[in-house]
Symmetry: D2
Subunit: 362 residues, 4 copies
Amino acid sequence: MARLRAALIGATGLAGQQFIAALKNHPSIELTGLAASPRSAGKTYAEALKTASGMTAWFVPEPLPAELAGMKVVAGDALEAKDYDLVFSAVEADVARELEPRLAKDIPVFSAASAFRYEDDVPLLIPPVNAAHAPLIREQQRRRGWKGFIVPIPNCTTTGLAVTLAPLVERFGVKAVLMTSLQAMSGAGRSPGVIGMDILDNVIPYIPKEEHKVEVETKKILGALRPAGDGLTPHDVRVSCTCTRVAVMEGHTESVFVSLDKKATVAEVTQALREWKGAELARNLPSAAPRWIEVLDDPFRPQPRLDRDTHGGMATTVGRIREDGVLENGFKYVLVSHNTKMGAARGAILVAELLLAQGLVG
Amino acid sequence: MARLRAALIGATGLAGQQFIAALKNHPSIELTGLAASPRSAGKTYAEALKTASGMTAWFVPEPLPAELAGMKVVAGDALEAKDYDLVFSAVEADVARELEPRLAKDIPVFSAASAFRYEDDVPLLIPPVNAAHAPLIREQQRRRGWKGFIVPIPNCTTTGLAVTLAPLVERFGVKAVLMTSLQAMSGAGRSPGVIGMDILDNVIPYIPKEEHKVEVETKKILGALRPAGDGLTPHDVRVSCTCTRVAVMEGHTESVFVSLDKKATVAEVTQALREWKGAELARNLPSAAPRWIEVLDDPFRPQPRLDRDTHGGMATTVGRIREDGVLENGFKYVLVSHNTKMGAARGAILVAELLLAQGLVG
Amino acid sequence: MARLRAALIGATGLAGQQFIAALKNHPSIELTGLAASPRSAGKTYAEALKTASGMTAWFVPEPLPAELAGMKVVAGDALEAKDYDLVFSAVEADVARELEPRLAKDIPVFSAASAFRYEDDVPLLIPPVNAAHAPLIREQQRRRGWKGFIVPIPNCTTTGLAVTLAPLVERFGVKAVLMTSLQAMSGAGRSPGVIGMDILDNVIPYIPKEEHKVEVETKKILGALRPAGDGLTPHDVRVSCTCTRVAVMEGHTESVFVSLDKKATVAEVTQALREWKGAELARNLPSAAPRWIEVLDDPFRPQPRLDRDTHGGMATTVGRIREDGVLENGFKYVLVSHNTKMGAARGAILVAELLLAQGLVG
Amino acid sequence: MARLRAALIGATGLAGQQFIAALKNHPSIELTGLAASPRSAGKTYAEALKTASGMTAWFVPEPLPAELAGMKVVAGDALEAKDYDLVFSAVEADVARELEPRLAKDIPVFSAASAFRYEDDVPLLIPPVNAAHAPLIREQQRRRGWKGFIVPIPNCTTTGLAVTLAPLVERFGVKAVLMTSLQAMSGAGRSPGVIGMDILDNVIPYIPKEEHKVEVETKKILGALRPAGDGLTPHDVRVSCTCTRVAVMEGHTESVFVSLDKKATVAEVTQALREWKGAELARNLPSAAPRWIEVLDDPFRPQPRLDRDTHGGMATTVGRIREDGVLENGFKYVLVSHNTKMGAARGAILVAELLLAQGLVG
């Protein structure tokens, strides 16, 4: 079967590079177009990455694929939907607001940007958690008169939290969550992202807008598609969080306190997390993890450097599951989630795979 | 006035060095004896710090005072109480259990070790918070037949938390606290403490025994001396926490969620913290901070590297005070407290100053 | 005596902040004017530091002096020489090229920028090393028709190297130097300076233009004023270096291999460094270190975190002096020099103090 | 073909774990025995890694192979040579001195320890560089009356240097080398290795014994087997170095200044490094890199985090090749070499593969 032709907008930034690394050797999707700012247009991708000082600004650990190094970059504005089956978007929110709707008229857009996350007819998909929200795309197409659609992925900090809450919601019900994140630098990108002098021997206790995103997105992701399929009813879980930045490259660590609807034991909570399989539709996708959650018994785990790459960065690792003693039916645990794999590029690709498997793409 | 003669046990370790740095030029206390393990006994202090490879194992930023470099080190066992007015103890808990009671028979022992923290007749003093517990020492002397006494300081992670809870308890009452700490490496000492390969590009989500200490000690510190003066009634605040280690040298950061007894506004909570003066008895001690809590308006603060040394490391800095939205009368904030100054050596010296001012020492 | 009135251009950047911290409580110089880009003009200094996200962009460890927080910032272009006795310049090289000559027409300009370092009539002063070059200022004034002058300080990487070479040149003569630097992040400033993701768990083996600066400046600094006083003859030492960046906040470490003109022993080299007093004129300046070089016997020293602040960051610490065995009369050693104190702001202030003492300022 | 049965001594330490990770799925060698200290004997390997606090002390990034987790560990003293075809040794030098000769009586021992590196009849093999030294093993067997032999690998800091010098020696001749290393923490192991508080925001300018090792080993590796095959004539290159430790996990960076015998251009030196194929015998070994040296044109490379894993950590990456201007026919460059892959476990396995291919093992 011919692979689907995908364009990538925002190809030169760190987020774009993560898409390129993640799509290397993908079985059903092929990157055939790279778009970036007008400054890069007309250059090969390798030339576009070259800085004035001679540096090749390629920052992901995987090597730059040779077949893309020589590909001509086009300006985002000049990208033609007819040449592609789908688009991945790694642009900033303000650019996304212009570019994504233009493309979505004709083809699906899978986006890491926050621009459309909070619109009524836009699902926020984490396939194992809420594949059931996918039909909302039909409503989006109907309302907007689009042949394509926009599906953003959640904020990277929301993803690990939502993945671990899903089995608890299913098994026990969840009333409230209090979370403190210790986030990696890669989430901030490189323009300039986190400055070295600010983070060495330090913690930065504030990430603008992040906490609000996590609070709103978690409720939306865990919500239910209304019977009419025309919108989502957010889950009534209350979420409060404090988001901090630490001197870690990749992998967000989150300290979670959760209040369940029902009494449970540590063993039952552990089992619920460990046995969770997630939505059936998501299990056999090419980028699916064999298990979405790995519970670690070693009390010193999870650690971001050791655990972020579990199952290719697609699993959320969990440890230190304990009773909380303060909240009603309270438990606490620590999770690590790879913010630029499951929480960004590879997460968006997983969504594309899901919709492809459901016949909504291609 | 002649200064009091103090001995230091555990003088060669990192905690001992912090006492030495903190007592340099102290107006009323003079270090006149240094004790360490038998291996060091008979050497000068500078010789005792010298390792096989030629390194002088002095690790605090302040220079080693010349007058101590040449002082002869004695074995802890050989220290004679009669030569001193008081003792500071920087030994490990197991050594403390042997050594401290022997000395406390005759003179006061101010200890950073956890060995006696949880005994009924032992107060856990943070002068601005609970100077009122000091009279429990009389009970301790009575029960044990000692002329001296043992006063341990709390765990360094407890200190900043208790300092910030104190004004909230006084003004609004506190029901419950959920806290996640991001702790500095210095709290683990250097034998070997935190290993470089374990903490670079990483977070370690577990510090053995730490969470239990914080939960128990916070209730004790915020409790009340029983009318008979023969013990403490712990505060009924419920405390739950997750303690993690990050790549920071000094200064513990804590993300706190707190449920108050009464409704309040962010402005009122901020004011309560900002205006808090602490116990009157503690205000004019030589090591007292001009304000025990500094509230910072910059949303990116407090940060451990920038704020740990506020008022000589004796102030707790607080920022990001917000409503929590989940807990009853819930608020959240971030604090930074210097774990080896207010949270260790200088905190113990402050306790000595308090008891000296009250006529309980010297 | 009234203190001299100094203006600071480039006041809001990191380098400017270092000048502010260094001039706090200066005995003979008072900051009475702050200039920055037009964007900051008209605001108070504290307002000018405030970013859109509410952060106060003050990055040096010393607190922002209250008396400057409320001072009105003027645009660099609008600064009037007649209101000041001297100017400190912390602007980038391109801005320096415009602004500094305009001010130098009337008053002395002490600059951290590289713009004028390589001009024939411009000395590059490190007071203990080459105070004898100061009279070149007269030539500069004559040629350019200025009442003031421009004196830049050397690149921060050059400073520590030149300080340690000076006693070797004086005692033994120096033929050649091969140096590898391990430089701190602060040298790169914060716009954006070194990006966190680039330096964590990493070394960056290239700092554009740095090596050339060190090679050229070292020869100029160690050179001799021509008898006519109309220029400098560079020293004929050959210098080759590789400059790298490491995850250190402040303090450049340099691994030096040096070939002397004459045979010497390690003891003689050590003694030459240890006993060096530097130019007599520089010894009693307010910012002078009691010793410009501190030789450490501990083989694990100097270390940037432990040694950078020796004598207020004005001393160069040296250790590991050994025979080299490869170069002719070869020796090797390691040095640490504070790149933003002796190597930048405080170094420039020291130059001002020197010229003030010589009657060339004020 | 049945795979050779290998035992590993020192299996529980970090170096041992690196052997285990590197031998996973090896085509011709199978780990069938694990030996460690008597304390671990009788436990399964997974049990032996478990610490008192519940941590599984497995520190390499690759997961612990399931088939080894359950294998019983034996005491090194109890290991029987007759059960194995060869031994890998990851013990400390003092243990190696006892254990390795006992085993070498019967079977080959490939060792990461320094114990036997400097003996006359012991080659120090880096297969692409000096495969020609392998026959010295016959002399060793003859002299000592052993059926097996000991082949240590060089110090990890020597390896990258020797690999890059080899093509220069072959093409131009090399007179002298001055090198400054910026070494990763993993080279120091974890007992305790580099302490976190010592290396954060710091450089440690001394690694005991390291410089002497590099100086002696480089000459031996680049030397020639004497015609009689009874010893090695060291190369007469003069080597001088300064070895430092930086906050990097893996990958040693070295700043090299080299003096060649003949005139050359940067282009010629670059070509010599880039085209070097190494000893023919080493080219097709299972662990061989497709190229032993990768020259990078980006001036900001090589960087340890980005380049250490080139070709599975078996290639040395080189950049910043420039004329030196000080040394006779002088050049300078920067290299990165993976200290625990090519420089340790995988390097020792490569040696075993070489001798296996030559019929000297099995």
